[in-house]
């Protein structure tokens, strides 16, 4: 215990025990304070109401499609086969026996409920989580491609490419993401969708404008990370590759980028974790990602404490998984 690592005098073993204990105590203190303060506002915790927003059983009614008489009810294991005969033919429905509401000889009108079955469905929070995942994954993929291209353009000799990259990076980094999302959806989106409708082509959904806004925002930051990574590779590497007769693109692809990408994995991970969290802004253009889904649940359930805590934990789950994945890549790359 207490192997000496620092530049100061070695610590006694009680040092670690004491401060370790102090940390746990502090943590418990914060929890207790939180609990105490919610008691003060007389908030009723109802954690049992939370699971239904993850998964729930939906009751689907089975209705008659025509007017007629039920002529037969045949049992088939757990299910029953109900046959209705009307003026212009017969129809049959399969449904669980336990849910059967009618009996043989009953007269039904079109739209009458014969029975129902239950279906397990993902709740609104899970749907939001999946949408957040989808939007983030798409934005990360496009962001990497855009960032890689812009990073390379940024260090290119070609003035058009270089200045283009600089303008793009400065513009995007200089305005708030929320404003950019509004611009993409309400300005660019309106223009594109009205043009599309003029030509009678279908509309582009808000999701794609959201992905575009996020990808372009991330691309600018990724470009600077990529540029720094490329420049961190010793220039001797490029010289060695070129002196063997490799062209610039060959040397970039086979020698410089593989080394640069390894080094920029940690900052890239940080950037993409930011992106997952920034996707919470997409609620403003009616994309029902996790945050917007949570807001809807809060307004219907009136359980803000539980839902927002769960929402934060779900984000933590996403970002932590991403961070673990990148750490795995880093370890594999060495």
């Amino acid at each position: 215990m207490a192997t000496y690592t620092g530049l100061d005098r070695p610590k006694s073993k009680f040092y670690y025990q004491f401060w370790g204990f102090a940390f746990v105590l502090g943590l418990c203190g914060v929890m207790a304070l939180l609990y105490y303060s919610t008691k003060q506002v007389e908030y009723t915790w109802r954690w049992n109401r939370v699971p239904q927003y993850f998964i729930y059983d939906d009751k689907v009614n089975i209705r008659a499609e025509m007017e007629g008489t039920i002529i037969s009810i045949e049992e088939a294991g757990e299910d029953v086969l109900v046959t209705v005969r009307g003026d212009d033919g017969e129809e049959s429905h399969t449904l669980p026996q336990s849910s059967l509401l009618l009996s043989q000889g009953d007269y039904v009108y079109a739209g009458d409920s014969i029975g129902f079955y239950t279906q397990t469905k993902p709740g609104i929070l899970i749907e939001g989580l999946l949408l957040t995942l989808e939007v983030s994954a798409l934005a990360i993929i496009f962001g990497i491609l855009l960032g890689l291209f812009t990073g390379l353009a940024r260090i290119s000799d070609n003035p058009a490419l270089r200045w283009g990259a600089i303008v793009y990076i400065e513009l995007i980094r200089g305005s708030p993401l929320l404003v950019q999302i509004f611009l993409w959806y309400f300005v660019v989106g309106t223009v594109i969708n009205s043009m599309l409708s003029q030509y009678g082509i279908g509309q582009i959904s808000p999701l794609w404008f959201g992905v575009m806004a996020l990808a372009i925002f991330t691309g600018a930051y990724t470009a600077e990370i990529v540029r720094a990574g490329i420049q961190s590779v010793h220039r001797g590497q490029m010289e060695a590759a070129r002196s063997l007769g490799m062209t610039y693109p060959q040397a970039m692809r086979r020698v410089i980028l593989p080394q640069a990408l390894r080094r920029i994995l940690p900052p890239l991970a940080g950037q993409f974790i930011s992106l997952v969290k920034d996707s919470s802004l997409l609620g403003v253009i009616s994309i029902r990602e996790l945050t917007k889904a949570s807001r809807e649940v809060v307004s219907s359930s009136l359980q803000p404490f539980e839902i927002w805590i769960v929402c934060a934990i779900l984000y933590l789950f996403l970002t932590f998984t991403l961070s673990m994945f990148v750490q795995y890549l880093e370890r594999k790359a060495i």
């Binding site: 010793h234 001797g236 060695a240 070129r242 002196s243 063997l244 007769g245 086979r254 080394q259």
Partner: protein
């Protein structure tokens, strides 16, 4: 019939702006014949590395002509990548590709530049590793090798391209003293096989033993040149005597 020189440098200048203007090369001319081993010596900052780097256009000379095997590489229209494939270069800091294995270091350019198949490139690579004496390390990563081994891999990497000329930029300066010998041995064998070599080095023993000609550079100019026996025993210029007096 005398073959034309394989390297013909005609009056090149090179300026650096750092930011003050610095003339690194001042009207340097020289020729190197097929199979000749030329050693360049001189104090640091004399422009010898710059001169060497001009020969495969890692530095672009500002004026003059550099004819490599009949092609003027200062002509912007020349295919510099094709020239570089014929001119191997060995660096002071090895510059092996650290993310690739030793064998992959040798095969990469063969496949991308020479268009050889993987099998062909690997056979060639293994033969060269055998030649420089580290065939057993083919699967290692460069940072698992000693400096001397890395430099021998770097030489093998250049040789894999079947170059007509080899340039060496202080190949032993970054090595521990006990590893200098193994690298110099590889270079001596290469010279004996008739490779055209231009070597910037501080190894006077190597210059004496292997060089056909020694060039002495100072302040961006070639001050004196001659066969090593003449050069080391009876230099003509005071500056050369002074330099040799300091290092020998």
């Amino acid at each position: 019939m005398h073959k034309p020189p394989i390297i013909d440098v005609q009056s090149i200048d090179k300026f650096f702006y750092t930011p003050e203007r610095l003339q690194a090369l001042n009207r340097v001319s020289c020729t190197v014949d097929h199979g000749e081993v030329v050693v360049i010596i001189g104090p640091s900052g004399s422009g010898k590395s710059t001169f060497l780097r001009c020969l495969n256009r890692l530095e672009y000379a500002d004026s003059g002509h550099i004819i490599i095997d009949g092609v003027d590489i200062l002509d912007p229209k020349c295919d510099i990548n094709a020239i570089r494939a014929e001119v191997g270069m060995v660096f002071q800091s090895f510059n092996l590709f650290p993310h690739k294995t030793v064998l992959d270091n040798l095969t990469m350019a063969q496949m991308t530049v020479r268009g050889r198949s993987k099998k062909e490139a690997e056979a060639k690579g293994m033969a060269l590793l055998e030649k420089v004496g580290i065939a057993e390390k083919f699967a290692a990563k460069p940072d698992q090798l000693s400096g001397g081994q890395q430099q021998r891999v770097a030489i093998a990497r250049s040789l894999a391209m079947d170059p007509k000329i080899m340039l060496f930029d202080e190949p032993t300066s970054a090595l521990d003293p006990e590893m200098v010998g193994e690298v110099l041995d590889v270079m001596k064998n290469l010279a004996r096989e008739g490779m055209t070599m231009v070597v910037v080095t501080h190894e006077m023993g190597f210059a004496r033993e292997v060089a056909d000609r020694v060039l002495f550079m100072d302040k961006g100019e070639i001050l004196e040149q001659g066969a090593p026996e003449h050069f080391f025993t009876a230099p003509t210029l005071e500056r050369t005597k002074e330099f040799l007096g300091q290092i020998l």
